[in-house]
């Protein structure tokens, strides 16, 4: 019988159990067990499952931004070869589902909220037939007579205070700015971003009687089941999702997207499996975007650079009635001092695809701007940018007064600076020229809030002494398979090849899902809890205290007692389900992962092209569960930082609201040639308040401020102080010195 052993995390677990176990697999840079499948093309992704008689669906997207669909000219399309159905069911989704919603998003595809919103699904025998028919479908629209704005900064845009973000106010910022020895008051802009995950959103839906089975590409299955069930008005118990491999998500697959619901409806009507795969363009046009932002940062400091005031106000956007507003000031609340403060987010209601979580919502764009503004203050005060950060680390969170659980920012700044060679930086711009290139260095702090969320996992210690870990936790390329196996192996004293991890199936206990950097620590804590229960049973069998139990390489030892696990188990399995619930530690402590970025860039003296030459990142995020997958997360985040600094921008045509650069040819993510040697330093840290593992989230930390370091390096290289991301060459050129002038 399986028991569920629940821990509500009300007080820090300071036993640091994983420092006393002896298997020695936790933290090791082990390969991902599923890696060979992925690189050999034999991991089955959502659209690749083979089912007999599977029909193919292609979404039809609106060619207006706002209005209603008056008529779909279905008959001509139904007469086309192979076409089975044209669906415009009111249960189909109009918007993307926000992460952890657990309920349907806005449904009903007769109304059009934004350009390229899905309005119908065409299903045919083959994909080519369906696509041809989808393009052929004629649609009559009635355009809205009172359209809302297409641009958040348009005077017509309605601006509201969002539901998900509270204004932080303390002291008198205006007065602090007035009294300050140095005052910086600057406005930055960041554009919208796409997740641009490698695997497009895809679902194969099939019904077994009244039970729905989905093979799909989603990040948070326990929520996704509820979302799809709510859309279809069925019992969540009747929905099963299978998603063992997910080809990246970055937030865009947190909630269910349009293809899943459309496939389920089509499969129900046609009584056969239906596959719907979004095209790359459709992914760009219809799934979650990161909001563009306009950010005003005010920094008031005394003569030494110590902050006495801090303002961070942002304008973001979303569709009307969406609760989500990019939480731009999330890290600003706790990162630096300055008791006189105003942190505020406003949301403009506009017609663009749903805005939601894209990797590190809030900090990704908030930190890059705050850290660019801090560079401006460092210049004004004339002190080293690293020193400026160190002078402004408060003892407690300003205004709130909360204590920090653990904060390795100083260590990250120092070790990062040392490894990078920050002391070689020349403080004034335009001091270093190599051939046609200006060379510069910049730095930024990293910070990202830590979240522990509810999660369950089942661990079976089998009679033969091997372990099985089961949860619906997804692995979106991040390393869930590896680290959950390492936690179980460490806790149960098993070599890693004796632990099998099964993920991504909602018939298993509900993990945290992959999002908010919380998957590893939350689901990992559940695995740990289940293993603790197994350890208790084993210690009873061996006849010792649980604390005195020593497990290694399949043998249980305590003092003179020693027995192999298979002997100890006596032919029986032990099955335990562990569950973690967030508790008081979430309120009692300010929990965040920290780090520091250092970047060296080259800016072409003639053309203004910026190339990042090298980067160093030092990060403290509690216990490292797997040094290889953690490093990869940091690397990936920093690559996103390069994109955010230099190339990535959703470009909308403000006449009709359509997205112009809706593919990977024109939405420029960094390619290999843009990514230089990146050094990642993982700091030793234990944060008992964050999770029983003493680990914090790392999945998003690497992006949170990275673009700021690059921006600051551009200024140091060539004197171009740019406040409008991305820093494309057209923005750099007007600030460049005469390329033929001698270097000062």
């Amino acid at each position: 019988m399986s028991r569920t052993d629940t821990v509500t995390y009300d007080s820090p677990d300071t036993r640091n159990l994983l420092d006393h176990t002896r298997q020695g697999v936790i933290g090791k840079p082990l390969d991902r067990p599923e890696g060979p499948l992925k690189v050999s093309g034999s991991a089955t992704y959502s659209a690749e499952w083979k089912f007999d008689d599977c029909a193919e669906g292609v979404l039809v997207l609106a060619t207006i931004a706002q209005g209603t669909v008056q008529r779909l000219h279905k008959q001509r399309v139904l007469d086309m070869p192979g076409v089975l159905a044209v669906l415009a069911d009111e249960a189909m989704t109009r918007r993307s589902t926000q992460g952890t919603a657990g309920e349907a998003p806005v449904q009903g595809v007769h109304t059009v909220d934004y350009f390229a919103q899905p309005i119908a699904l065409v299903v045919a025998e083959t994909f080519e037939q369906a696509r041809d028919a989808a393009l052929a479908l004629e649609v009559d629209y009635v355009e809205s007579k009172s359209p809302i704005a297409l641009d958040p900064e348009s005077p017509d845009a309605e601006v509201e205070d969002p539901d998900n973000s509270e204004t932080v106010e303390g002291g008198d910022l205006e007065k602090a700015m007035h009294d300050a020895a140095f005052a910086i008051d600057v406005e930055y802009r960041t554009p919208g971003h796409a997740s641009a995950a490698m695997e497009p959103h895809a679902t194969i839906a099939q019904w077994h009687g009244d039970r729905l089975e989905l093979h799909g590409s989603y990040q948070m299955l326990a929520y996704n089941v509820k979302e799809i069930a709510d859309c279809l008005s069925i019992d969540p118990e009747k929905v099963r999702i299978i998603a063992p491999y997910v080809g990246g998500g970055f937030g865009s697959k947190l909630g269910i997207t349009h293809e899943a619901v459309a496939a389920a409806i089509a499969a129900r009507q046609l009584k056969r499996p239906v596959r719907v795969v979004m095209s790359r363009q459709q992914v760009f046009e219809t799934v979650m975007r990161r909001s563009e932002t306009r950010q005003r940062v005010r920094l008031a400091s005394d003569a030494s650079g110590k902050l006495i005031g801090l303002g961070h106000e942002a304008l973001v956007s979303n569709l009307p009635d969406e609760e989500f507003a990019e939480p731009v000031t999330q890290a600003t609340e706790f990162l630096y001092g300055g008791e006189n403060r105003l942190l505020k987010v406003e949301v403009a209601r506009i017609s663009r695809m749903t805005a939601g979580s894209v990797r590190a919502p809030g900090e990704a764009v908030g930190m890059q701007v705050l850290e660019a503004a801090m560079d401006e203050l460092a210049e004004a005060v004339d002190i080293d940018p690293v020193e400026l950060r160190k002078r402004n680390l408060p003892a407690k969170v300003p205004v709130e007064g909360t204590a920090y659980s653990s904060r390795m920012l100083v260590e990250a700044l120092d070790q990062g600076a040392e490894a990078f060679g920050w002391d070689q930086r020349r403080p004034r711009p335009c001091q270093t020229r190599e051939g046609d290139w200006w060379i510069g260095m910049g730095m930024a702090s990293a910070a990202r809030v830590n979240m522990l969320v509810p999660a369950e996992a089942r661990v079976t210690l089998k009679a033969d002494g091997a372990a099985l870990v089961e949860t619906d936790q997804t692995d979106i390329g991040t390393g869930s398979y590896a680290i959950l196996g390492q936690i179980a192996g460490e806790m149960l004293g098993l070599p890693i090849d004796r632990v099998n991890v099964v993920l991504g199936d909602t018939s298993l206990p509900a993990g945290a899902g992959s999002g908010g950097s919380f998957g590893a620590i939350s689901t990992g804590s559940a695995v740990m809890r289940a293993c603790e229960a197994i350890r208790t049973t084993l210690s009873e069998a061996l006849g010792c205290d649980t604390d005195a139990l020593d497990l290694k390489d399949g043998t249980a030892t305590s003092g003179d007692l020693s027995q192999s696990l298979s002997d100890l188990l006596g032919g029986n399995d032990i099955v335990e389900t562990g569950k973690i619930e967030p508790g008081k530690t979430a309120e009692d402590f300010s929990q965040a992962s920290y780090g520091a970025f250092f970047a060296e860039v080259a800016v072409h003296a003639f053309t203004g092209e910026t190339r990042v030459r090298r980067m160093t990142g030092a990060f403290g995020f509690g216990r490292v569960l797997n040094a290889k997958t953690a490093r990869s997360q940091c690397l990936g985040g920093m690559v996103w930082g390069i994109g955010s600094a230099l190339t990535e921008e959703l470009a909308f045509d403000l006449r009709d609201g359509h997205l112009v650069n809706h593919d990977l040819a024109e939405y420029h993510v960094p390619v290999h040639a843009d990514v230089p040697a990146i050094e990642v330093i993982l700091l030793e840290e234990r944060d008992a308040a964050a999770s029983p593992l003493q680990a914090k989230g790392v999945g998003e930390l690497g992006i949170c401020g990275a673009a700021g370091a690059i921006t600051n390096a551009i200024y140091n290289a060539c004197g171009a102080r740019l406040r409008n991301f991305p820093m494309t060459l057209d923005k750099v050129i007007p600030h460049l010195p005469d390329p033929f002038a001698e270097v000062a």
């Binding site: 046609d436 092209e609 470009a651 006449r655 112009v660 040639a673 057209d730 050129i733 390329p739």
Partner: protein
């Protein structure tokens, strides 16, 4: 994708026969297939010329003859090209990705269509895709568009790199058609949009590119400078192909071609005449750029291409003449 038939020509004659019957030529398909998926192009009948044997590179006393089916990868890797016409190899390698260059061909690349987002998006007006429907790019998001050679009807660029190098090298496009063989100087191959942007080039109906001929090498310094938003796998914002010879500290000979600046690969002989005989200097580069760009006109987002082209030209001339 609309249904279509696909025939394989086994020689030039069978290809021409299929073209007479209304077929559209397909070679590597790296551009055409994308356009067919989006139904920007909807041919009923395709003739593949991949089995016609037009895939050899031959050198003689007049220069080099590159078969229409020579892949971009093979052309750029050819030792004769690398040694004597390095500009061509450099331009090809600045474009696309290894996978695409393995598939894309010399003739096909010349016929590559624009990357204008409005051309690719069938929900938008585009005179190139649908004559008479208008040009949504003019007042739209036109960051990648042309500042030279534009018309009321179209401001789209020819996006490629290879043809820009060929233009600087005075290449000749060799064709076969219903009326026999033709030699088209590459400067006359791409068509300015004028009132009819739907035709990108001066190929006649039923005409097939068989090869490109490069004249004997000049021995000049050859540079391809491609300015773009990221380090690889991006179309040029502006590119400069230069072939420059110096004598006694003066520019003795130069040819310059520009990519992604005009609606076609752009060459301005007056600029070259201005430079020849002169001693290189920043002031000279500025004069050359002023002449090159005297009729340039931006449409908002692409205004920056005008100063960028001047800067790219200066950098290229500086590099070509200071060695």
């Amino acid at each position: 994708m609309k249904s279509f038939t696909l025939d394989h020509a086994t020689d030039t004659d069978s290809a021409l026969s299929a073209l007479r019957g209304g077929a559209t030529t397909i070679a590597g398909g790296t551009n055409l297939v994308d356009l067919m998926k989006l139904q920007v192009e909807t041919p009923d009948r395709l003739v593949s010329i991949r089995r016609t044997g037009l895939d050899t590179i031959v050198e003689d006393q007049d220069g080099l003859r590159v078969g229409a089916l020579v892949t971009n990868a093979d052309c750029a890797a050819d030792q004769r090209v690398r040694t004597s016409w390095p500009l061509l190899a450099k331009a090809i390698l600045a474009g696309a990705s290894p996978q695409l260059r393995n598939r894309a061909t010399t003739g096909g690349n010349l016929c590559q269509r624009t990357r204008c987002g409005y051309f690719y998006d069938t929900s938008q007006a585009c005179n190139k895709r649908e004559p008479g429907s208008g040009c949504a790019a003019r007042d739209g998001f036109n960051r990648i568009h042309a500042v030279l050679g534009t018309s009321e009807a179209c401001i789209a660029t020819y996006p490629g790199d290879m043809a820009v190098a060929m233009l600087a090298l005075d290449a000749v496009v060799l064709t076969q058609g219903p009326n026999g063989a033709r030699e088209i100087p590459i400067a006359e191959f791409h068509r300015m949009p004028g009132e009819d942007p739907s035709r990108d080039n001066t190929l006649k109906p039923g005409e097939l590119i068989t090869a490109v001929r490069l004249p004997a090498p000049t021995g000049g310094v050859q540079i391809y400078r491609k300015v773009r938003d990221r380090a690889s796998y991006a179309f040029a914002l502006v590119s400069v192909a230069a072939d420059v010879s110096m004598e006694g500290g003066r520019i003795a000979r130069c040819s310059l071609a520009f990519g992604s600046l005009g609606t076609v690969p752009w060459r301005d002989r007056a600029v070259e005449e201005l430079l020849v005989g002169e001693t290189p200097s920043p002031a000279l580069y500025t004069k050359a750029a002023d002449l090159l760009l005297k009729d340039a006109r931006g449409f908002g987002h692409n205004d920056f291409k005008i100063p960028l082209a001047a800067r790219a030209l200066a950098a290229t001339l500086h590099e070509a003449t200071q060695g």
